[in-house]
């Protein structure tokens, strides 16, 4: 899923300081699962905005709503009658949500309430880790099903750099060296030969480097 983190309240208060009717919009997708943008967090943010703005000497009206998803126009449509009563929106979906809302309702100010971080999953309660960088051409099967593009700090495709240290990356003891894991797994499985193949430079055309991406599936498209 997409992992996001809440923006500091101070930053959000600064965004909305000139508005008096603010709608906080959550999303029941990824951000609900990673506890940052669901109904619960909508209520917390709404309450914080009320308290924070009152502290700044201003009473504001803060509405709360959580959509099924914010990455689907169908659900964004549900805001149609509600949004009229507000002059600003804070979306706490991933970066897609506020953009979809702003596209559909171009006359209202829409602010992002979270920082969208990466694609990953929960490795333990309250801890999430990156797994995929969306490069558009998946090659993890060469690497014991571990992604060196997203998980090696240098996206190395041909083996560990000289900084690998007791299973940790040279960048920080907080980061696992994925190459250490790849090498150990592949060697344990007797797949050293595969690692000895020189993997050629990757085409980043399919990644963000090739420009903003769009996908059309003829069989589904109208």
């Amino acid at each position: 899923m997409i992992i996001a983190e809440a923006k500091p309240i101070s930053e959000i208060l600064e965004m909305v300081k000139d508005f008096s009717k603010i709608l906080v919009v959550g999303c029941k997708g990824c951000v609900t699962v990673c506890n940052v943008g669901g109904a619960k967090e909508v209520a917390i943010l709404a309450s914080s905005i009320r308290i924070g703005m009152r502290k700044k000497g201003k009473e504001v009206e803060v509405g709360e709503i959580t959509l099924e998803r914010q990455c689907d126009p169908e659900y964004i449509e549900e805001l149609r009658d509600i949004i009229k009563d507000y002059d600003a929106v804070v979306s706490i979906a991933c970066g897609v949500g506020p953009q979809f809302i702003a596209e559909r309702y171009p006359d209202i100010m829409v602010f992002p309430g979270v920082n969208t971080k990466f694609m990953g999953g929960a490795i333990e309660h309250g801890v999430w880790a990156e797994r995929c960088a969306g490069c558009g051409q998946c090659v993890i099967h060469y690497y014991g099903t571990m992604c060196p593009i997203a998980r090696c700090s240098k996206s190395l495709m041909n083996g560990p750099c000289g900084g690998s240290n007791h299973g940790k990356c040279e960048v920080s003891p907080e980061i696992d060296c994925i190459w250490d894991k790849i090498v150990r797994k592949m060697m344990a499985q007797g797949r050293l030969e595969e690692l000895l193949k020189i993997r050629p430079p990757k085409s980043w055309l399919t990644a963000r480097d090739g420009g903003p991406r769009k996908m059309v599936r003829e069989e589904l498209a109208k």
Binding site: I9, I44, S47, I51, G52, K55, K56
Partner: protein
């Protein structure tokens, strides 16, 4: 400022804190009237939203009375709560509100005196801080 009477919401759990309160009562010790008590089964059930709502609805201070960290009936309720309180402190700070306005205290079941003393101290502190808004 002279006639500022702080409103303090005190959450307390049904176990240690509750029996400390009962003992206080038996000892004829009474809480300052600024303090409004709210009983919860376990402090671990208090969510960030509950704490914020107290402030939103006019509290000048919030305190939580719970068990000792190693004697929570629900294993780690008080520990979870302490992390949430830390989080709320950070949020308050970002809003320009003194983080000292929220505190959590671990009580021993038998210590009725502590319960009342801490509550009084809290009232004093909030009195010094004055109203939030």
């Amino acid at each position: 400022m002279q006639d500022f009477r702080p409103k303090i919401i005190a959450f307390y759990c049904s176990n240690c804190a509750s029996s400390a309160a009962k003992i206080a009562n038996k000892m004829n010790l009474y809480l300052p009237e600024e303090v409004k008590l709210i009983n919860v089964p376990c402090t671990g059930r208090i969510e960030i939203l509950h704490l914020l709502k107290a402030f939103e609805n006019g509290a000048d201070g919030v305190c939580v009375f719970g068990c000792q960290e190693d004697s929570c009936q629900y294993i780690n309720g008080i520990l979870k709560l302490k992390k949430r309180v830390e989080h709320v402190k950070k949020m308050l700070e970002e809003m320009g509100i003194e983080p000292d306005r929220i505190e959590v205290f671990s009580l021993y079941a038998g210590k009725g005196q502590d319960f009342v003393d801490i509550a009084k101290e809290m009232v004093n502190k909030i009195n010094q801080l004055g109203p939030i808004f």
